[in-house]
Symmetry: C2
Subunit: 310 residues, 2 copies
């Protein structure tokens, strides 16, 4: 039995859900909160889920990292728009050999974290989950939940299955969270971007759900072409994603039916959008290797404009 301790930096739809599941499985979990701190300190966390609702009346809640004990694994579950806070947040909460698990969307985040804690202590994670925070300390899990994780190495070298990944995977499995180990983190990131770039971007610009974007032939073609542009960037970084993958993403999205992307939810709620992690960094990655991605570029500029206009 593991006695690894976890710090959850950002107790929202992602951090709240996974952190609660880890605590429910008996692990030692501490939650960092801002606006919800008092409520969660007094009343704990409440999770609604098709896998069974549950309440944790008592959780270790903190509103500052300086009060938190050092932990073995720090899970970064903030929005990437808050990542400028990481240089303050991460060092105090990590044991000497502690590991950071980044549960965020987009490209280039692990390198930023590695610059803070060292490159041999960073694991990237991608959540395939529909989950919303519906109130302070109240998370509504709707569907899915799988997390794929891969270790980071400088210059995005694939590093196979590392011990840190194995330990985290073990803890997650104990909490009944499906985990998929990825031997090549960058490949996994690009695969997720193939979906995230078109659907997040267009859903904001066109005020549309995924099913609306797929129901119209024209926007369907836009989605497809943006996916191919993404494939073409990945290929220049030696990550070959077969064109067949685009068809799989269409099939998957059709099965999901009406879905509001995270960027669209942020936009509607008046929160900053993850423009740079999801669109800006991939665009700059393309530029750096001279791949032409006119559609991604225009989409990036459009979403950035809308993000700033508010």
């Amino acid at each position: 039995m593991s006695d690894r301790s976890y710090a959850i930096l950002g107790t929202g739809a992602i951090g709240g859900f996974y952190g609660a599941r880890l605590q429910q499985a008996g692990l030692d979990v501490r939650f960092l909160l801002r606006s919800d701190y008092e409520v969660v300190r007094d009343r704990g966390l409440e999770i609604e889920s098709p896998h069974g609702d549950f309440t944790l009346p008592k959780v270790n809640a903190y509103n500052t990292v300086s009060a938190m004990p050092e932990c073995d694994v720090a899970i970064v579950a903030l929005k990437t728009t808050q990542n400028h806070l990481l240089p303050e947040l991460l060092p105090p909460v990590l044991k000497k050999n502690g590991v950071v698990l980044v549960l965020q969307n987009g490209l280039g985040i692990e390198a930023e974290v590695a610059a803070i804690v060292g490159s041999d202590r960073v694991v990237g994670g991608m959540c395939f989950i529909c989950s919303n925070k519906v109130g302070p300390g109240r998370i509504c899990h709707l569907d899915y939940g799988m997390v794929s994780i891969g270790s980071y190495a400088p210059e995005d070298r694939p590093c196979g299955i590392t011990m840190a990944m194995g330990q985290i995977a073990g803890d997650f499995k104990r909490a009944d969270i499906p985990v998929k180990p990825e031997s090549d983190l960058l490949l996994a990131r690009w695969r997720k971007l193939v979906w995230n770039i078109p659907f997040n971007g267009l859903s904001v610009v066109l005020d549309a759900t995924t099913d609306e974007l797929l129901a119209d032939d024209g926007t369907r073609r836009c989605v497809e072409q943006l996916m191919y542009e993404t494939l073409s960037i990945a290929a220049r970084y030696y990550r070959l994603i077969p064109r067949e993958f685009v068809r799989e993403m269409f099939a998957l999205t059709t099965k999901m039916q009406a879905y509001k992307t995270s960027m669209k939810l942020d936009y509607e709620a008046g929160r900053p959008m993850e423009v740079e992690a999801i669109l800006g960094n991939p665009y700059r990655a393309a530029k750096q290797v001279g791949v032409s991605v006119p559609r991604l570029e225009m989409l990036y500029e459009q979403v950035k404009f809308l993000d700033r206009s508010r």
Copy 2:
């Protein structure tokens, strides 16, 4: 002195303004109206303009073409979204040698009109004017007003200055309307599209005025790239527009300050937008000659999606 008679098909911001000026100058003008028919029949037209307000208490108003006498020049001043009506509207109002002047935005319209009335009777016109209909029979002219006109010939052959152009130009000058004759209509159409494509399209998608699009570096670059894409299509049709023209368009637009494009005004008012004339036809022109215009394509699909979503 001319005794040419004019039929104005569509008495809105454009048709109402130019028709009123022609009548004011003593020409015989008949106006076709739909929703404003009763008001204009009873009260005439009222024009506010920096060049002097004026009222025409009595105009020849019609609500059907079958009642209109045949004329020498029929001015098509409908929105292009109404052009499916032209096969019914044009033949009854034209004398045997009558000419059609198309005062509309976009590409490919003269060919449609030529298919109805014959290709030697079509003159295309582009209005450089800020003008709005502010009520039934009430037009508010804000600025500018120049009309450039060019004769149509099959396959868009340049046809120099024709007699029909000369006669129309004469009547317009008599009405103090600045006229610029264009020896190559298609070149003039592409030049106008260089401005219309980016500003009309992006103003709708991003809910923005021209000055807002220019104030943001990212959208400014989008505008510029869309202009270059437009140049590249025109070039494949042997219409060479120098790259310097893009800079001129930026200077002109900066001078105009905050401006709402016609497509944006239509979108806000819940009216159908001129998507096909301004974006769809240029996109298809590019496709036909194999020019890659990914930004125009995405913009076209985006605006079409928004047009349909209402």
